[in-house]
Symmetry: C2
Subunit: 196 residues, 2 copies
Amino acid sequence: MTGPLPENPDRGDKREAILDAALTLFAERGFHGTAVPLVAERAKVGAGTIYRYFENKEALVNAVYRKWKHAFTAAVVETFPFDAPVREQFHALWTRIFGFANDHPTALQFIELHHHAAYLDAESRALEEQSLAPARALLDETRRQQITKDVPSAVLIHIVWGAFTRLVKAAAEGQITLDAETLDQAENCLWEAVRR
Amino acid sequence: MTGPLPENPDRGDKREAILDAALTLFAERGFHGTAVPLVAERAKVGAGTIYRYFENKEALVNAVYRKWKHAFTAAVVETFPFDAPVREQFHALWTRIFGFANDHPTALQFIELHHHAAYLDAESRALEEQSLAPARALLDETRRQQITKDVPSAVLIHIVWGAFTRLVKAAAEGQITLDAETLDQAENCLWEAVRR
DNA sequence: CTCCGAGGAATGAATGTTCGTTCCGTTCAA
DNA sequence: TTGAACGGAACGAACATTCATTCCTCGGAG
C-alpha cells in the first residue's frame, strides 16, 4: 500500500524527505510539470532512490495526496466540539480549516490543485469524500433543525469550501491579507450565506 | 502578438480549429499534460501547421486564455443594467456568469485551471484583473451605500467567485445538479453573504 | 578489540520513450 | 507556373524508469 520499505528502520526519513520535496514541487508546478529527477534533487537523494520507496511517479503523487488529506481530516476532527451549539460548531470548523491552511499552506494548495485529478487512484478519490464528512453531517443536521437554509447540504458545502479555498489562494498570491479580523468577517459572511 | 498569420484569409478557420482543440485538451489535462501533436490530431491538422499560427506551445495557451477571457468579459458586460437597483445588478451578474458557464463549460474550466499559471504572460495576467472589474465596481459602490458588509470588496469578490466556480465544478463532476431553482437558491445564499 | 565479508540500501549514468519543434516535399489556389 | 499553406517524418532535448555499481552497516572470526 505504502510502497516497499527499506528494511533498516533508521532510514525511514528518506521517504519523508521525498514526500516533502514532492509536496512542494507538485503544489508549485503540478503533476506533469514536475520532473522526477527534480524531486530527487530537492530531497537530496539519488533519482533511483525514489523508486525504492514508490513504484512510480503516480504512486508518489497518490502517497503525497493521502498523507495530507489524512492530516487535514485529523486536524479538523480532533477535539471537535460535536455537542456545542451549531453556530459554535461552524466557528470551530472554520477555525480548524483555516488553522490547517495557515500551518501547511503548501499542503492545502496541493490538495486543491490535485482535486479529482485523473492520476489519483480509487483510494485517494475515496478520501476526498471522507474529509468533508463532518461538514456534511453538521449542515444536514442544522438543516433538519431549520437553522440553515432549505438548500441541499452539498450545495452549501461547496459554497463555503469554494469561498474558503479561493480566499486562501488569494491570500497566498498577496491579493488580500487574511488577518484575524478579515478572517472573522469572512466567517460571518459565510454563516449568513448558509443560515436561514 | 497573435503569431504569424497565413496570408490567405480564407484559411483562418484552421486557427479556430486549433484553438478549439487546445481549449478542450488543456482544460481536461492541463498545460504540461497536453502534447502538441495531440492538439494537432484533434484539430485535424498537421503538427507543423500549429507553428504557422502560434510561435510555440506557450503562445498557444496564451491565445486560448485571452480568447476566452475576452469572451467571458464580453458576456458579462454586454447590456449590463448598470443603472438598475443593486440587488438587481447582483442578479444580472450572477445570471450572466452562470449563463457563460452553461454555454461554455469547457472554457470556464480552462480559465479556472490556468488562473495565475506560470506560463501565462504579462498581457494574459492583466486580463485576469480586468475581467472582474465590473464586479469590483459594483461591490465598492454598494459598500459605500452601506448595502453590503463593511468588508474589503476584494474579499467579497473572492467569496462569491470562489463559491460560484466550485459550484460549477461540482455540477460538472455530477456531484450536484444546478437547475434553475438550485441556482436561484445559491444566488440568494451569496447575496446574504455579502449584504449588510 | 580489529578486521573482514555479506547483503541490503543508495546511487546516478544509461536507456528507451515521448515531447516540442523544425524541415522539407507535396498540395492547392490563382 | 508560382508562392503560400500544409502535413507529417525527422530531430534533439527532456522525460520516467532501470540497473550495474558503490556505499554502508553489522555480525562474527581471529
